[in-house]
Symmetry: C2
Subunit: 356 residues, 2 copies
Amino acid sequence: MSILAPSAAGSRQASDDAGSTSGHVGGLSHAFAPAFLLLRPHLAELDRCLRAQLDAFEPEIRAMADYCIDVAGKRIRPALVFFSGWREPGLPAPDLVRVAAVIELIHLATLVHDDIMDGADLRRNRRTAAREYGSTAAVLLGDALFAHALHLATQFPTTEVCAAVSESTRRVCAGEIAQTLRRGSVDITRADYERMIDLKTAELFRVSCFLGSRLAGLEPDFVEAAACFGRHLGIAYQIYDDLTDFFGEENRVGKTLGTDFTNGKLTLPIFVLLERLPPAERGALEAEVAGQFPPQLAVRLRQMEKLGVFSAGVDAVNAELAAAGTSLAPWADLAPAKHLVTLADLLRGQVAALKN
Amino acid sequence: MSILAPSAAGSRQASDDAGSTSGHVGGLSHAFAPAFLLLRPHLAELDRCLRAQLDAFEPEIRAMADYCIDVAGKRIRPALVFFSGWREPGLPAPDLVRVAAVIELIHLATLVHDDIMDGADLRRNRRTAAREYGSTAAVLLGDALFAHALHLATQFPTTEVCAAVSESTRRVCAGEIAQTLRRGSVDITRADYERMIDLKTAELFRVSCFLGSRLAGLEPDFVEAAACFGRHLGIAYQIYDDLTDFFGEENRVGKTLGTDFTNGKLTLPIFVLLERLPPAERGALEAEVAGQFPPQLAVRLRQMEKLGVFSAGVDAVNAELAAAGTSLAPWADLAPAKHLVTLADLLRGQVAALKN
């Protein structure tokens, strides 16, 4: 029996912010996919580690945890762990696999809770946990995944991993709360928006790079630079994801255009459009964001094209990617840095390939 | 904007299972209150520690975290920590205060999520976080409290505290999920019921006693016995709480009689009544639990009186309290054991004083 009933009816694909989408089942069609070919053995080890965790869950919830892990995302955060702590050749160090599993479990937990709140029915063509088990159970299931992620983090010899991921988790929640409370509002500054995506998306990217390089024993300056890279990459990725809500082909990005917009989420393209519209025309768009008037997606897309919103978005992504690259510049010859920079390059290419 | 709308309308007091109720604002009218007079300095230190945590929360959520901590419960779990690791005289050791804060934060997080799921409007005469901030924000706020509790747990020199509380949290969630999925069902065995309350309530009682005695440096056999005591006390407390849904004066127990029953929760009194009703009469009660027929509280109370359900419940509580006492028998002269046994005695007295 589900006590929590999402307000929106009908079958809805998960809203895919929080760096969770624009990929397809199989995990090889997202922005970073080409680089992931190198990670096949790593991701296979990760899957083994995640599956091994199921034994730790109480029998009452094991099948539900299995369902969530199976729905699995694109493993972007684990990839950041592996690349940040890259050692060739051969299999990844068990430490890296374990910390990748910790971060992925936390990410999966946030997706379980996000899907409740967004009233999403489907995520990557499977029913969301909220639809499969009811929203009430999904709240608790997300909690259990969080708790187990932290428990797995205690298998490291010191409290460092646990401290880093628990703090990151709190920051992700703070970002999501800020976004939730402001949904439908246009009373948000650009700085508020940047802070929200820094917390809700970039934080887990950052901690993935931090812990990957740290556990690989890389020098402290590199660890700091990798963390800085991860943060900028995360912000860039979220802006890219926000762009795909308005631009690009629906089939390719794997979601219905305008989902964020019709959900009252104020993302970068809307910000830029508000800034560029003549003052007299802003009110109508604000009313659409606030849900006081049906969103006029086709009108807004035409205005965006006319006012250069797409290229402003591309510029914003590229500025973050440039900052990410700069942070790693002193280590241009180091293998982990090379792999990370490749990810930034791939995202730059994806953004350029988006259809205006 | 709240996406999650609880199905029940009207102003509802929080359903107070999970060992969270039958007390009043001020914290001195619950089952264990008389023993808490000894703990005034301890609980003051705990409050100081909890308030100090607020600084760690992101500005976006600090006021919300403050609201949850202020709504604070009866501090039963912190009391178990302090008594299990009792050293007189003077202020409690900082380790005990910190671990008490960790466990209380986890408990508060579970209450935030419970109140969403139960559609509760009020908890201890204040609006629940779900009503104050919306269900969506409350899901994330509970997550942030969980995350911060685990972060605070990483301030101990080893991962032991973090490991114990993260595992307990997962077990609590498993118990809550099992109860949620079975709400409205009578297809539950007595063993299922016992397992559910063991997980959802007794687990945090157990880990409180375990960590309190462990951090106080008490001998391993005592630590194990204290944990065993905590578990039995927790089960006893939950059964007592289930009894107060049917027996006792509403004003005194601070809740409306029959709340669990009308919510479709299958608790011990209903189990016993089902067992004792003639087979021909069971179907109607089952239909009431399943929500297919309006709950006939007055009828059920009369049947419970006639069939001795109250004394069966009292027997069940006393059996758990006896088991709790037995586990500490070898340490009868040890101060922590004396204080813990006092709690068991107080609960025994409260149960006896319930009005049949």
